[in-house]
Symmetry: C2
Subunit: 286 residues, 2 copies
């Protein structure tokens, strides 16, 4: 690969470039960003070589789109309009149905791979990018059969350089599952943060009484609203379902506490302790 | 101090003994536990010198009660019945109102200090104990004026050896605040784990799609039901209040998603991002 273009020079795209620069040392890395300060910072940090514009797309071997999912839905068809015969275009968004739908039937659909790396942190922007973010993580690929075989092979090579394992899913299955294991986690964390902030008029009390448990549970409430609002919008139906399930479980827990039914509370928690094995599986399997 | 007695040889008590053994190398460390295997394990791991019974209480310079809070309410008055003139008794439970109430008016009330170290992990048992658990953490002390001054001084020395800073609160304020920053975190995490497990019939999907965000948010759902059920029971009123606030916030968030009011969603998250500064304060302040 000689020309690599990153659209959106934030945490995810920037981290990917850092790893790919080692894998493709002779390639030129272009960065395109609506936020000029982000683009300049990405260049300063060495995530990209050049701040570029859309005119570089036609010569690109790889285009990575790493912007909020609402912007991806808008921009992706235009990117596919402008790419060359050799180009592989990949998005990294946290929703897949709307993004796949926006290019269904596009003349260059076979140049596109719908991808979602299960990796990230609560931080954002180019300064949050770092090497090795994707190592041992999972890359979800959707509608792989819609991507040209030669470009599938190129993507596979890229994922190997990133140290990722690949799993294939339909966009519908992806969006449903991810609503539960990712989107709901973010909402539960944001609402926990909100509830505690509301209660504590004197912040000093939070500092003193909050331990590592609170810190861990509320960590995702630091995440970027600009990134997460469009995710919730695009995955609205599944997010609503997951929230309904969560609120129902919390309400039942509340009823048990209210009714002094602490046997039910104990059993509820004991059953959920199964998450220990599940998380252990995550650690071992990834 | 020559004789130190730990009642409950688990994570919190065991970790405390490990640090105190360095501070008081010539003292004898006794362990009392209803679970004989825990006591034996604690001895094997060097958390205590001897597996003992209640007969050692009268000679104790320090008694640390580190058992579930319902058991503490039962046992604490009996411990105070049996201690000597020199003894300081300290509990480390996550609730304070019921525990303080159970010894109100006890002839030896002034030998007791109601304490709650803001430290711990999601693991439990003697094998989870480790050195340095309390370093840079906060020890909440309640009703300090009810503890004899000389024993306050001894406790202060102990907390210094553990590397803790002390904060004084009323039992009522403690229980109310801790419901929000600790008990609610645990419930939100347990119910998140439950909701995801319910949804995912095929666990493999959880492994593949769950990232570090889910892992962080659901971590507390590994916690011990035997420890947490009595905490929720004793802090029932405040736990209900905190759950009401949390469920109301989640329901409002759900309504905004349902109504496609994503401006409200954005603003909600942006306001809650303030937790970044709060958590930073925690890191710097502790």
């Amino acid at each position: 690969m000689k020309q690599i273009v990153l659209i959106g020079t934030g945490l995810i795209g920037g981290s990917m470039m850092l790893d790919l620069r080692e894998a493709y040392p002779s390639a030129v890395f272009h960065g395109i960003d609506a936020d000029k300060q982000h683009a300049a910072k990405a260049k300063e940090l060495g995530l990209i070589d050049l701040v570029s514009g859309m005119e570089v797309l036609s010569a690109a071997d790889l285009v990575v789109i790493a912007i909020p999912v609402d912007a991806t839905v808008q921009l992706l068809p235009k990117v596919l309009d402008q790419i060359g015969e050799q180009s592989l275009v990949m998005d990294v968004g946290s929703t897949k149905e709307a993004i796949c739908k926006t290019v269904r039937g596009h003349a260059h659909r076979r140049h596109f791979m719908a991808a979602h790396p299960i990796a990230g942190t609560e931080f954002s922007g180019p300064q949050a990018a770092h090497k090795g973010l994707f190592g041992q993580k999972t890359m979800i690929v959707c509608e792989v059969e819609q991507t040209a075989f030669a470009l599938q092979e190129r993507a596979k090579e890229i994922f190997e350089h990133l140290g990722m394992r690949v799993r294939y899913m339909t966009p519908a299955a992806h969006d449903r599952h991810i609503a539960y294991v990712s989107h709901l986690s973010h909402i539960s964390s944001f609402m926990l943060g909100k509830t505690v902030i509301q209660e504590e008029e004197n912040e000093r009390d939070i500092f003193d009484l909050a331990g590592s448990g609170f810190e861990s549970t509320v960590r995702l409430a630091k995440s970027s609203p600009a990134m997460w609002t469009p995710i919730f919008a695009q995955n609205r139906e599944h997010v609503l379902d997951s929230l309904d399930g969560y609120i129902a479980n919390l309400s039942r827990f509340r009823e048990s506490v209210k009714n002094n039914d602490f046997n039910a509370i104990f059993e509820d928690m004991e059953q959920t302790n199964r998450i220990r094995t599940i998380l252990k599986g995550m650690e071992n399997g990834k």
